[in-house]
Symmetry: C3
Subunit: 362 residues, 3 copies
Amino acid sequence: MTLYNDSETNSQKNSQKHANHDCIMTLGSHCSLQVLKGAKDEGFQTLLICEEKRVSLYKRFRFIDKLIVVNNFKEILNQGFQKNLIDLYNPIMIPHGTLISSLSMDDIEKFKIPIFGNKWILRWESDRVLKQQLMIESSILPPKQILSKNDIDGLCIVKLHGAAGGKGYFLVSDKKSFEEQAQKLIESNVIISEDQLFIQKYANGVPVYLQFFYSPIENELELLGVDRRYETDIDALGRIPAEFQMSSNLEPSYTVVGNIPIVLRESLLPEAYSMGERFVDAAGKLVPPGMPGPFCIEGVYDNGANFIAFEFSARIVAGTNLYVSGSPYSDLLYDVPMSMGRRIALEIKKAIKSSKLGLVLT
Amino acid sequence: MTLYNDSETNSQKNSQKHANHDCIMTLGSHCSLQVLKGAKDEGFQTLLICEEKRVSLYKRFRFIDKLIVVNNFKEILNQGFQKNLIDLYNPIMIPHGTLISSLSMDDIEKFKIPIFGNKWILRWESDRVLKQQLMIESSILPPKQILSKNDIDGLCIVKLHGAAGGKGYFLVSDKKSFEEQAQKLIESNVIISEDQLFIQKYANGVPVYLQFFYSPIENELELLGVDRRYETDIDALGRIPAEFQMSSNLEPSYTVVGNIPIVLRESLLPEAYSMGERFVDAAGKLVPPGMPGPFCIEGVYDNGANFIAFEFSARIVAGTNLYVSGSPYSDLLYDVPMSMGRRIALEIKKAIKSSKLGLVLT
Amino acid sequence: MTLYNDSETNSQKNSQKHANHDCIMTLGSHCSLQVLKGAKDEGFQTLLICEEKRVSLYKRFRFIDKLIVVNNFKEILNQGFQKNLIDLYNPIMIPHGTLISSLSMDDIEKFKIPIFGNKWILRWESDRVLKQQLMIESSILPPKQILSKNDIDGLCIVKLHGAAGGKGYFLVSDKKSFEEQAQKLIESNVIISEDQLFIQKYANGVPVYLQFFYSPIENELELLGVDRRYETDIDALGRIPAEFQMSSNLEPSYTVVGNIPIVLRESLLPEAYSMGERFVDAAGKLVPPGMPGPFCIEGVYDNGANFIAFEFSARIVAGTNLYVSGSPYSDLLYDVPMSMGRRIALEIKKAIKSSKLGLVLT
């Protein structure tokens, strides 16, 4: 572990008692710049766990007070490492997508450094069955499931049970094309029978990501931003004339490379807020202590302007990086530029002031 | 009528004389958050007419001083209701898309509470023949009309005379496909003969919405923002491979669910401003007192970068919700974050100061 | 030459000695509003060379101190004109896309008014062979070249050697379609043989433009914004159902009409910065004094999230117009709204203060 940007000596730090949490830390990826910028704006010390190869990036930003270099994020699981950080900085860890993809759920749940939000709910985000259960409890409707290939009527998406991300997905429009594709998978030994395939009605509509923050301190839900993902190469497909799509054997992928800002029709906000509230309620019921902090409901609006959810994220999402200096929605609520990262820091500050840290940390 | 967020007692209010207009009101939908936030930023009292089902949304925003709950927006047509509001608050009503879709033009024209802008021009926005007349007077060119099916040469859009929104529209690419589609409509008794169909050249190009504000006080036109709509499911169509579009019998719709920010090439601004000025001039000629306040010209840029207009809105549009804290265009003109809603309030303030309210109210 | 907005008399101006550069000028197009707004925010006088037909546009903006009207931008090549400007204002010229397209490289290189950045590198942007050389030196990979029609395997783009912009480009997906298209060009006497055609693998992925600023004063590179272009009518193609694309003989064009803001996945930033640094290094080696000031690397992210560059711009690009009041990236670096135009002015100010103007002017 190497320290950069560190003006104090270790002995000074060791002698300092962190009676309170005055340091916010996160892993160097995903939304860490926004998170630490926001933390600094709210008066916190900031600490970044940074992989060697990314030091040159993160050294550029003055709002990062301490840069702790690791070869691999898994090093933070070391008990001595964690104890050391707690002794030195008594930090609060902000979880994000890279924490989830770098560590196992067991590891996160055993983490000694306090984690902002509900670390137990991260498992529900990662596990397809638990995720489905939480969505149903929230009355947030996933795309319709097709139970038999005989019921395929119009565009459907077919997934292998247990497949992750967008891998192994394919589209079909009728029973015949389903059977052809399934046959190919059987012949190439990917599956043994059609029963291993899961058919869902294709959720046809424009993608929308709703960025929420729930404050257990204020008992209030805030919609702080809306975006859509920018995915390669599916979002480039429309730039290829149909004739060449047909003759080119393209197999589009859904790899996220960025985000595009959007605002919603104001008349869609009541249902958006209602979805957020149902999610907070359901989380409180199924996964105590519920859903303190940022989360995101992800789906499409269909041609009737109904929201069809296909995912949630039970922590800050990267689409919030659009709004480092506030969004059209946060600007309706706050007089200062309020990013999601800053909102997290503000909640911690409020929790400290009102001695309610227990409500926002796990 | 129920009042929320109301710190003063009614008796206090009744005793208060509103010699001047210090209250801005609107209906709770469309762009009301932006409008009332802007009004508050310019120092006005704010009042929202809110449907019961949306109270929980609008109670979240501190810049809304009074929330008046109705079961249906039509209740504001009640003479006693209006008189009551005038006595209590002497408000100015900001019209927007929901006002137009909730009330008839006759009702709006008879409204007793003063309306910001020109309420008479709203009829020209809603009536296809008047709209066409105003566009031609402005030399803002709509897509070319095809007078005979024999002249169909390339992609065309076919509309039923009198159809609203995007309903009943279909695309054709040659005489044969026109005849086939028309035959279907005849067989299903939607039309009696092909003569009821109106053929327009398909305006092929990228959609662009130009958000203007014309100040009769300063006699100046301002381009305050540019956006494009985010429409379901047409804007998701490109994410479906051509092969599946062909086999899936999709019938795309054009339902607006949001907006995406854009900036224009600077070299397109002179013609954009010129269109805006021609529209203001034409409105002044055909529909006195013309076009005070916000309006929008809506169309596409074709492959020669020529603007083909297909619509205008003679009032604030929802795309301005992107710019609650200003746009790249308003930031060139103002030192404070100037949303369209705030610009409206600023104009009212200037009108009050210079005793020219008559120029901005009808 | 006519002066507008000019409160001082000429005699006053002539008597004034401009020991230092306190005036920033540019041509009225492309990104001139942003550039002069930024210059004004940093305390400079601002001067715009404006074509007669655009005076009515540029007179609207109060941050433009002097408007010098010409019939044609080529008038600025007149030696007397330049001498006059130097005597009166001693300005620094900010080059942009319109300067490059209006003047020849020879003319720009002989320009007497000092130009911000490296005027010699503009030739490398305009010349396809030099451009390729600089990209290879930077290890910024262009799309794969296909040396023989027999190697066409999947979607390719075919260009005429020497063709500019997107003109004369066409897509092919196999040897047969290549031969058919080539035959058409031969029959219409556009080419004599297939050898005149240049085949490139189609760079399939979502377009991304990386807006950089390199400071020779601070010896630091900054990523100040990210956008994608909004091109007509290719970006409208996805809104036309495949069936009608097939039957309508569309020939999409790639005319830029605007820009859309995006943010990148944070994990893509290290490679983005690395590309920028390699470009700065390569420019320093091949075209002294290198790459002071703004530049842009333009390409797509493919389905492996690898960046395939197809262009660079060695000066400010129009996509920066999105960020008149700062971007999510500049907001991480600066406490004030820092547009690219303002960043240029700030660099000039720093150069003046540290007597290092030689590092940023040519």
